[in-house]
């Protein structure tokens, strides 16, 4: 072997060296999860037990609708509503791929028919109507089906006179359904108007990330608005704003904590305390029980306390 050959061989060897993917192979990720914030490697089973919150830095991972309901509801109390509603393709929308194909791909990836799951649960034995958005399906975007399911959920809550909780996580309105998506903002808000007039309680929970049309409709219309720590919530996205005003935005811009300090949410509650906080708020809004305290101005007291 002459020197030339030796160099050629060495070069060939270098080129054919297999580069190992550090974290993305599937079997590895099934066991271990890296925290997006502090980069700590976490054992997935422990993470799940900790409600998908990093034990080291308290980073709240995005979670799916199913897990949310599991964390919130009394065991086996969830009854799904309108599970069979599916998206149509009213515009015949095609960009780089047809919308119909994108829908199928999204469902295959997420295992969901649409980006919101609605139903009824009990929370500490109190019946509640609950809607949970799943960012994992089509970026949690709101098209006709999401609008319809949310509107039906609100109407169901109104009919049963139970409190309503909606957990939002969405990139905004679904462009592929054009103007009909935009109209879902109006539809859900109109349903909430009727709900509102009945004097019923609606708690909106904002989770990472909630943007666009969802923020500009039902997500911001809660009687009480709760955000998860670190969740990014806004109308326009950070990048769009930076490009428009051509200046850097504060690092914590549009985070839950930023929203709290700007008076946009009532509280920031970590996932571990969410269930008990909700339970407490809902219990409180049942109002005063007329028995222990008799109203000071007598006679018509029952009317005041009846709600």
């Amino acid at each position: 072997m002459d020197l030339k050959e030796w160099f050629a061989n060495r070069k060939k060897k270098q080129e054919s060296v297999e580069v190992k993917q550090p974290l993305s192979t599937e079997e590895y990720c099934a066991l271990w999860t890296q925290c997006h914030l502090c980069r700590e490697l976490l054992y997935t089973r422990d993470l799940r037990q900790n409600l998908h919150v990093c034990p080291k830095c308290q980073y709240h991972f995005r979670i799916g609708a199913e897990q949310r309901i599991e964390q919130l509801a009394d065991p086996d109390s969830f009854v799904e509503l309108d599970a069979n509603l599916a998206s149509a393709d009213p515009l015949g929308f095609v960009d780089s791929e047809p919308y119909a194909k994108r829908l199928k791909d999204a469902s295959r990836k997420s295992g969901l028919r649409e980006s919101v799951v609605t139903g009824t649960i009990t929370l500490n034995q109190t019946p509640i109507a609950v809607g949970v958005m799943d960012f994992g399906h089509f970026g949690g975007s709101m098209g006709s089906v999401v609008g319809e399911k949310v509107a039906r959920l609100i109407e169901e809550a109104q009919k049963r006179r139970v409190p309503l909780i909606i957990i939002s996580s969405s990139g905004g309105a679904r462009m592929q359904e054009g103007i009909l998506s935009l109209m879902q903002l109006a539809k859900t808000s109109a349903a909430l108007q009727a709900f509102h007039e009945e004097g019923l309680l609606y708690i909106s929970i904002l989770t990472e990330p909630t943007y666009g049309g969802v923020t500009a409709s039902f997500a911001m219309l809660g009687d009480i608005i709760i955000a998860e720590p670190g969740a990014r919530v806004g109308f326009a996205g950070r990048r769009v704003i930076e490009q428009t005003i051509r200046q850097k935005l504060p690092a914590d811009f549009q985070t839950a904590e930023y929203l709290l300090s700007h008076g946009q949410v009532d509280m920031v509650v970590e996932r571990a305390r969410l269930r008990e906080t909700l339970s407490q708020i809902i219990e409180f809004h049942k109002g005063n029980n007329p028995t222990p305290l008799s109203p000071s101005n007598g006679k018509k007291g029952e009317a005041i306390y009846s709600r």
């Binding site: 960009d95 462009m175 103007i179 109006a186 539809k187 808000s189 039902f218 326009a236 704003i241």
Partner: protein, 329 residues
């Protein structure tokens, strides 16, 4: 012809060139009578009319968009001024701000009184900046909300004119919670007990347009557009190329006729041939007529009926299937 003075758009160039030729010929004619030239002139004039009709009869989505954004297009104040030269402007959200991008006032159109509210784009450069190019801040939506409630209190109809690229993506707007400002408007508008009519006069840009767009009747001027996101935004997000604007205009179905066919708009209001900017008087007159027709119809409904009518209109909108197939099949 006065309408040839209007700045031509890109797709109107052939028409503009023909107009130039006609003008040059007319100049020559002025110097002396020549039957040969007269024949040519007649032929050119015929050609001009023909081209004009065929051009405006076959507009693409992006052409409508260009017309809707035309710098000389009549804005909210132009309509208000023509409907009621003595209209009284009202200012302020009562919480520390008056947004010039949202105009409001007391208007009497042929004796019929209503509260007029609308987005305003601004004509000169300074004016445009002052009005933030027709993009209201949250305070603008709250100013509108104050006047919705005012109208409700006095039983006056509300007429909203919409011509806005959308809500403004800015730091101030986010800090002052524009999402909430829009959401509250949607909710409160759907609860009003007076007639509400929304008219898209130019661009209907997403949430910013809808914030004053929840109405018993939605009217759209012939060349106006209404979309969930700007076509530029759609192109850059979905196609990854910002230059695919024409394609995304077509894909989103955003022209007045398409929006009507989707069941969102109730009526398309005709514009002067070539667009509203050719004849402000005609545009204002025509829109006024259509408005009065709808206001008369709505005035027959009782307050609870009006509210129900509006609620039901939006409750119906949307397209979906009932599917029992397994997920992802």
């Amino acid at each position: 012809m006065a309408d040839r003075k209007v700045t031509p758009l890109e797709f109107e160039q052939p028409l503009a060139m023909l107009a130039q030729q006609i003008e040059a010929l007319e100049k020559q004619m002025g110097e002396g009578v020549n039957p040969e030239l007269e024949k040519d002139l007649n032929r050119l004039n015929q050609q001009y009319d023909q081209l004009k009709r065929s051009l405006y009869g076959n507009l693409r989505g992006i052409d409508h968009l260009a017309l809707a954004r035309h710098a000389q297009r009549p804005y909210t104040r132009d309509y208000f001024d023509r409907w009621d030269p003595q209209w009284v402007e009202l200012h302020g959200d009562r919480q520390g701000c008056d947004d010039p991008a949202m105009v409001a006032g007391l208007i009497s159109l042929k004796g019929y009184r209503f509260i007029g509210i609308g987005t305003q784009k601004g004509r000169s450069i300074r004016d445009k900046q002052h009005c933030n190019f027709g993009m209201p801040q949250p305070e603008g939506y709250r100013k509108a909300l104050r006047l919705f409630r005012h109208a409700d209190k006095f039983g006056l109809p509300v007429v909203n004119l919409i011509d806005t690229p959308g809500a403004y993506p800015g730091l101030h707007a986010e800090e002052h919670n524009q999402a909430e400002a829009i959401a509250v408007n949607l909710r409160e508008l759907s609860g009003l007990k007076v007639p509400v009519i929304a008219v898209i006069t130019g661009e209907g840009g997403s949430g910013g347009a809808l914030a004053i767009g929840v109405a018993n009747r939605i009217l759209m001027l012939e060349h106006s557009v209404y979309s969930v996101i700007s076509p530029e935004g759609c192109a850059s997000i979905l196609c990854r190329y910002a230059d695919k604007v024409a394609e995304s205009c077509a894909a989103m179905k955003m022209t007045a006729k398409e929006i009507r066919d989707l069941g969102v708009a109730d009526e398309v209001v005709p514009e002067p041939l070539g667009g509203a900017h050719h004849d402000y008087e005609f545009a204002a007159e025509k829109l006024g007529e259509v408005l009065l027709k709808h206001l008369a119809e709505l005035s027959k409904l009782s307050p609870p009926e009006l509210k129900k009518d509006r609620h039901d209109k939006f409750r119906r909108l949307g397209a979906f299937l009932e599917s029992n197939e397994p997920i992802g099949a």
